[in-house]
């Protein structure tokens, strides 16, 4: 149920600093995105669950996996630049077509002490 661990060696925060660390270099914006569609089985299960209400686990998991992937891409980009932290991480979700959603993660890559 717990979402996958987002990062190993790159520090992520949604603050404008890493508390307790000093920023030594800025690398600018890094971003990662993924567009995902749900498969028919999940759609059917979700529409059945829709009758009685409650959590749609299939969708929760799908979106968590997608967000983790978008984050992983962002982290990869930050690493390629030589950063060891991404600050002010934001997520956004937009539905590009029926049944498909884009998950986007972005932040500022920096190097901290």
């Amino acid at each position: 149920m717990n979402p996958p661990v987002l990062t190993s060696d790159v520090i992520l925060t949604n603050l404008e600093s890493v508390p307790g660390r000093r920023i030594v270099e800025h690398y600018g914006l890094v971003a990662g995105s993924t567009v995902r569609a749900k498969h028919v089985g999940r759609d059917i299960a979700a529409s059945l669950k829709n009758l009685v209400g409650g959590e749609l686990r299939g969708y929760t998991e799908l979106l968590q996996e997608s967000r983790a992937e978008a984050t992983a891409r962002m982290v990869a980009q930050a690493k390629a630049l030589g950063a060891n932290a991404v600050l002010n991480v934001r997520f956004s979700t937009s539905s590009v077509a029926q049944g498909a959603a884009e998950l986007y993660a972005y932040g500022t890559a920096v190097k901290v002490e």
Binding site: Q64, T93, G99
Partner: protein, 176 residues
């Protein structure tokens, strides 16, 4: 009564199928949905009491003298939907306008659940800073141009902060 155009199925059977089945479904799914919602609220209240010692704030700046040992991003999300009966009620509400209670409780449950999951992910943290909620509608493709709301997704994200253990022992809690 056997004219050429008469259907072999009696009228009352057709009426029962057309109006009776959806009505029964409304009542049955409404009851199940209400029961599930009560159960969810009971679980939310119990877990909120259990995680009450981990404060979450939407402030960005930390006004705290203690040294930070570790800070990391935490995210948690939930996709939740309402039952058939409540969706039916919400549809009628649109005719008259006003508060749509069925959607109010849906969003309330979703936000509280997402925050709880966030807190449950970082039991070792002392504080969650810059808490954000993102809400998005998950549209379900049913029918050609009819977008029924299948549910809402609430994403809670924040920075979990663990303070360095105080040299004197007993760490001071920040006021407020």
């Amino acid at each position: 009564m056997n004219t050429g155009t008469a259907s072999p199925i009696p009228d009352w059977v057709v009426l029962l199928l057309v109006y009776g089945v959806p009505l029964v479904a409304l009542v049955v799914f409404g009851f199940i949905g209400a029961w599930l919602e009560r159960r969810h609220y009971a679980s939310i209240r119990a877990r909120e009491a259990a995680t009450a010692n981990l404060p979450a704030t939407n402030l960005r700046a930390l006004d705290d003298e203690r040294a930070v040992q570790e800070a990391w991003l935490v995210t948690a999300s939930v996709v939740i939907s309402i039952d058939y009966f409540k969706r039916f009620l919400a549809g009628w509400r649109k005719v008259f306008g006003g508060r749509v209670r069925s959607y109010e409780t849906l969003l309330d449950r979703a936000r509280r659940e997402a925050l709880l999951r966030l807190k449950e992910q970082c039991p070792s943290a002392d504080l969650i800073a810059n808490l954000r909620f993102d809400t998005s509608c998950i549209a379900n493709a049913r029918g050609r141009n009819r977008q029924t709301v299948a549910g809402v997704e609430v994403l809670a994200s924040g920075t979990a902060i663990r303070f360095a253990p105080a040299a004197t022992g007993g760490a001071l809690r920040a006021a407020g």
